[in-house]
Symmetry: C2
Subunit: 212 residues, 2 copies
Amino acid sequence: MAISDRKIREKEDLKKRILEAAKALFLEKGFEATSMRNIAEKVEFSPTTLYLYYKDKNDIVFALHQEGFKLLAQQFSIVSNVEHPYERLKTMGRIYLKFAEENPDFYELMFVRQGPIIHVQKYNSDDWQEGSRTYNVLYETVIECQKEGYFKNLLPHSVSLIIWSTLHGMCTLHMHMRLDCVTFEDDYEIDPEKSRTDYIYETFISFIERLK
Amino acid sequence: MAISDRKIREKEDLKKRILEAAKALFLEKGFEATSMRNIAEKVEFSPTTLYLYYKDKNDIVFALHQEGFKLLAQQFSIVSNVEHPYERLKTMGRIYLKFAEENPDFYELMFVRQGPIIHVQKYNSDDWQEGSRTYNVLYETVIECQKEGYFKNLLPHSVSLIIWSTLHGMCTLHMHMRLDCVTFEDDYEIDPEKSRTDYIYETFISFIERLK
DNA sequence: TTTTATTTATTAACAGTGTTAAGTATATTT
DNA sequence: AAATATACTTAACACTGTTAATAAATAAAA
């Protein structure tokens, strides 16, 4: 059985190599500019071969979106060191914003593009595990905060939804260049050291302080 | 000079007809499924003729995005009846959410897609008028609220950015089907009459109450 | 009025996209 | 050795946005 084992291993190996190629192109040239033929060329197989390992492009896109969630989970893992739930929440927010800033293409795939969601609807019977798991981390933290007396008279789902929405809105408005028209100079003293992202982060903090 | 006037008029007429055809297809079949050839077929001209009236597809997309802003401004116009700035702000929020819910394709063009922004960068020297004008309506309202004592110790741009981000985040997470995985049932008693959008709106209101 | 110039629209083509049907080697099993 | 199964490729389909070259229609100049 060792030979057939090797065969299976080799098959999974190529599947991984395809994904690695896709990821490389994706990070290098962006999502829009990554085609099936590009990926095929990179792994040195014909384009049709990809369809023996992935059902369609959305299947690859979905796998890529999973990679993004792995990366985010990795960044999130350090928050377990933060004892106090409210401080942990603020740290999570900072990590989320940083992740979006540093991995805009991944973020787009994870939370904007419809490709991965279409794949979920088709093959995973509407069960978007990556999303619900990540949301749950936030939700549980909010509940812990409430046990400590924060967010009084608010439903935990409401609080979670508001926080996620605010962060997501800040990230995407920024990523999609919808904030370039907003000139903050009226308010803030123009500090050339500080980026727009810095101001966004500060705004988020002042917001969460208000919300408590 | 009357003849050349008529010529110009006819030219603008076809330009409008192209835009109308684009809008019709866009609203009927969605943005993704609207191609230059589709539009050309609808106006009964060859595809290349469109390029005599619009520089490229993004030019049409940009004009379409302007139509969206006109529609939003129209919906917003009724808020001038609301005297109290804080009440006006809440009404604006409701209108914004309703607009996004009822015109998801327009919303996508106005605040998500990069097509219109690329056009702005190319031909309008980075001046996204539609965006800054709409933002200013919010900003001015926030300032008026602060004059009445709301949002103490917060910069008006911060408040505006938070509100816009939260609304935008709610709209897009919902539109892009990233909230389908969140089961609110733990919190809310499942009222079949109420849609997810209703809950989102209630959440927004409870949020803005907190923020004040 | 005839000729030239300009505007308007078209055909054909380029280079690309995701995807599939059909065919070809290679390796495994009977 | 013959039949079957696996892995892969070639060729093609039906699209996409866009451009160069060309033809037809109109306006201006001779």
